[in-house]
Symmetry: C2
Subunit: 546 residues, 2 copies
């Protein structure tokens, strides 16, 4: 049976449950009742089969697609259309739990080659049929909604071949629909790694990494998706663009960069040349440090990034609330280690945790780790060993599976993220937590930094609240209200509306805070020039006009 | 007296002469006669005052500019117009030595603020008057020619203020017309460095670095201009674009990147936020290595770049001919060191030289230098100490002053450069030197690598030939013939037409080898969208249509 729950559940489709520590924390914090919350959650499990409105695809279009791709690659079942209509944004999950699919595509196409994609794009442009490119489906920005119906173009189904491994140049050329695990296991077997590990790694594609302008968990060392791409092949309504794999050049502006962050509005990325690195996990150095507070941890982090001592690859700080929550979750509070920390003056909820790994040449990783340790110590960082890092790495992708467990226990949980320069970081962080505090324990928020640069960092916040027994529309409206309050706090304090999630339709209404009218004109002008009929991911993505 | 020679001479305007070793090398190699060559050169010193055709600026335009900027900032003298009409491309110098200024602007404007620039751009767009943005005037790609007359917009004259130093973020915000030395001395006094040192450093501007998509001599460590820019303010016919200084973000595609490589065709960059680094020259580690041949040197270089041991900042290999020429120039041949090298099997003209520096934290630079040394040794690199690096650094900007000394001695000398992946480097390099060899000693060519990446590098070639007593047109035609042969060799062997010089009008006819028709359409479409009347650097720049 193909249910809504099969669509919305992330990762492992089997049921999992929140641990006792976390449940107790939530109940204590919010004053909630376990069975009442469970009852709310039970009522929106949506274990029934997906039923959506019939598709509106004209039969001549269907015939064309079948002729081009074969019947097996043209799907119109309710389940397939619904599976391609939503990502993993909290409101998406709410919709599905309420048994709703607001904007399904009319058809899901699963092409096998660049040529097929280009033919689909040409055909759709000619017939003004919308196309929504679909990679792993992990969007958290409403980037996949078929607001005007049309085609969901699934790149992952059949376009996941490695086309060329070039060990001389340390690059790999792949079809854009290849997923993280497919690429990484291919590379690991040959002694290489792709260096890009977003939390959605297991369910995202190389094309999606670029289109959403993502950053992996080790981006501080390896760089962002846009830094790791070398060359692209893209199908657009104005034709195929294919770039060269030069290491760098000065021949007009970089056309590749248009597609990083284009979120499917400019073209369909079909092939990618990507930098790779030697895979040497045994060389990895790592460490954990506990600081008295977020302020001293961030000062250490800034100094490390500006000291020119080499860079950590994974580099994170959990702020006071996140450290507090994590320690509760792990049952750390009350242990002798906890007592020792308190005795040294490291108290919750201020104490904060820093984690790092360094990868590469063995002597190099050891030296960089040593230099990091010495700077951390200067700012009061107490070394807390390697095991927290190893534990964290083990759950690096699966921790987000917990979102479903939270919702099954009757708790809303979502994340928002921003980019900010060092000089605006602390005021922004303080404003954000003031915002949470002012809800009077109606919302619990905690934050971390997880992508770091010499001139600033991201700030990623996870927020939770008890779910209420509500009508779908009210439920979503309450969430949006909260979420927009967070975005507004970011923007009011000099943060961006996204660091690596992208904008999609979720952040559209804030685009004017990020771009002046000339900037918005530039985005729209370029959009019109590459997609004159406005067929690519139309209806609000990036707040483009079309 | 304001002469042609004052315009074409680079750097120190006083006369300087080639050293005896170099002169002997040239005469031996080409079989030339000293006094005959000098006689040819004498005949085109162009020590006479500049006289060019009258300007074609309508008086109402002149009145508008005077009203806006004041009389002192609106120049129309022959000398000023001629000084802004040409860069430092060999053919530019030939033109000037022959007393010719092919495409002078009608007027030189020297604005003081972004607002003035925007007003000029608006006015010119409205009246279809061409604008050629002018920074330091060091273009080697014919990017400054006023093919259709109009305005040369001199940003360097009055727009060279530091607007904000942010040591917290390690960034500096400047007016785009600030020159390398103005910026660097400001920063050095405060303990920082800009990290960008093109050979034209003394006579180029921050805006120009970005517009031409340049790379400095230490780009391997610090990154290219496009990596060092954080935010821009740009005056365009469609209005002012101003970007934020986020360390990174995922909010649509990166509009900043449009201007890196735009060569004045999309907008006038007026303000730049730029990354800075701690200035710690005492920590610099450096080294020189002699290899048996170019092949083993490049294998060492590739391994160093891919080993994840940290990166050198300056990183260069002089191939066999360049090492040979350099040793001749320094009178090294025949010394006991030379004999020792030969005894060890390191013979000219194959033996090749690698140089590197590492900058940053002291312990870090030492470790990286040690790891580089060990990889170099593995590939047969003999350590040759620090002094060659120190010598090289001393003449890092002034070596190009020698071009005038070469021409004064009757020798043509110019450079071309390409970017290439590792797997195509050696075939391209061999083809290039085969091309030089086939001229039967009519041309001497030598090459180096000076900007290095994990997946490839640049290749930079310097070529010389005796000048002949010729009519201007023949003289230039002969040079162009040679130069296009080199470009064709690059392209035929998978190299780009530019790594960091840009394309200008010089490389225009090769753009179709780098971009497919869709790519060229994208460039032109974006151009039209930002500059609808085609007033910005029109007439062939980047082979755009307008």
């Amino acid at each position: 049976m193909q249910t809504y729950r099969q669509i919305y559940k992330w990762g492992d489709k089997r049921d999992s449950h929140l641990d006792a520590h976390t449940l107790e924390f939530l109940e204590e914090y919010f004053g909630t009742d376990r069975s009442r919350q469970q009852q709310i959650a039970e009522s929106i499990r949506a274990d029934d089969p997906v039923r959506i409105a019939p598709n509106n695809l004209a039969s001549e279009h269907r015939q064309f697609f079948i002729q081009l791709l074969g019947e097996a690659c043209v799907e119109q079942s309710d389940f397939s259309r619904a599976s391609h209509a939503l990502g993993k944004y909290y409101a998406d999950l709410l919709h599905l739990r309420h048994g709703r699919v607001p904007f399904p595509p009319d058809v899901v196409l699963m092409p096998k080659s660049h040529q097929q994609v280009q033919q689909i794009v040409d055909y759709c442009s000619q017939h003004h049929l919308p196309i929504i490119p679909f990679g792993g489906g992990s969007s958290v920005t409403r980037a996949l909604e078929a607001q005007r119906g049309g085609v969901s173009l699934d790149l992952q189904a059949h376009m996941h071949q490695v086309l060329e491994l070039n060990t001389h140049n340390q690059t790999v050329r792949v079809q854009a629909g290849i997923s993280g695990p497919q690429l990484e296991s291919y590379l690991n077997e040959r002694g290489y790694t792709c260096g890009h590990f977003p939390q959605s790694f297991e369910h995202s594609t190389v094309g999606g990494w670029i289109a959403a302008r993502g950053a992996g968990q080790c981006s501080t060392g390896y760089g962002r998706a846009e830094d790791l791409m070398v060359a692209l092949k893209v199908a657009m309504p104005i034709g195929t663009f294919e770039s060269r794999d030069y290491p760098a050049c000065a021949q007009a502006w970089d056309l590749n960069r248009l597609f990083a962050g284009s979120e499917g509005t400019l073209g369909v990325i079909t092939e990618v040349t990507w930098r790779i690195f030697r895979y040497r996990p045994a060389n990895q150095a790592c460490g954990t440090f506990i600081f008295r507070d977020f302020e001293s941890a961030t000062e250490a982090m800034r100094e490390i990034m500006q000291a020119e001592i080499g860079r950590p690859h994974l580099f994170r700080i959990s702020d006071g609330p996140e450290t507090w929550f994590g320690f509760k979750h792990q049952g750390f509070e009350g242990t002798w280690k906890d007592k020792f920390l308190r005795w040294k003056g490291y108290h919750p909820p201020a104490r904060s945790t820093m984690m790092m790994t360094v990868e590469g040449d063995e002597r190099f990783t050891r030296l960089v780790a040593r230099r990091i340790r010495s700077i951390a110590r200067k700012h009061g960082g107490l070394a807390a060993g390697k095991s927290p890092v190893h534990r964290w790495l083990k759950q690096r992708y699966t921790s987000s599976y917990l979102r479903d467990a939270f919702m099954d226990a009757g708790y809303m949980i979502d994340t928002m993220e921003t980019a900010v320069t060092w000089d605006r970081l602390l005021p922004l962080w303080r404003a954000l937590h003031k915002f949470f505090d002012e809800t009077n324990r109606a919302v619990f928020g905690m934050s971390h930094i997880s992508h770091v640069y010499p001139n600033g960092c991201n700030l990623y916040t996870i927020f939770m609240a008890p779910m209420k027994p509500m009508q779908p529309d009210e439920d979503i409206a309450e969430f949006l209200n909260l979420q927009q309050g967070i975005l507004k706090t970011f923007v009011d304090h000099g943060g961006s509306i996204s660091h690596h999630h992208g904008v999609g339709r979720m952040g559209g209404q804030f685009m004017h805070t990020q771009f002046d009218p000339t900037g918005l004109n530039m985005l729209n002008g370029i959009k019109r020039c590459l997609d004159p009929n406005g067929i690519l991911n139309p209806g609000g993505t990036l707040s483009l006009d079309n």
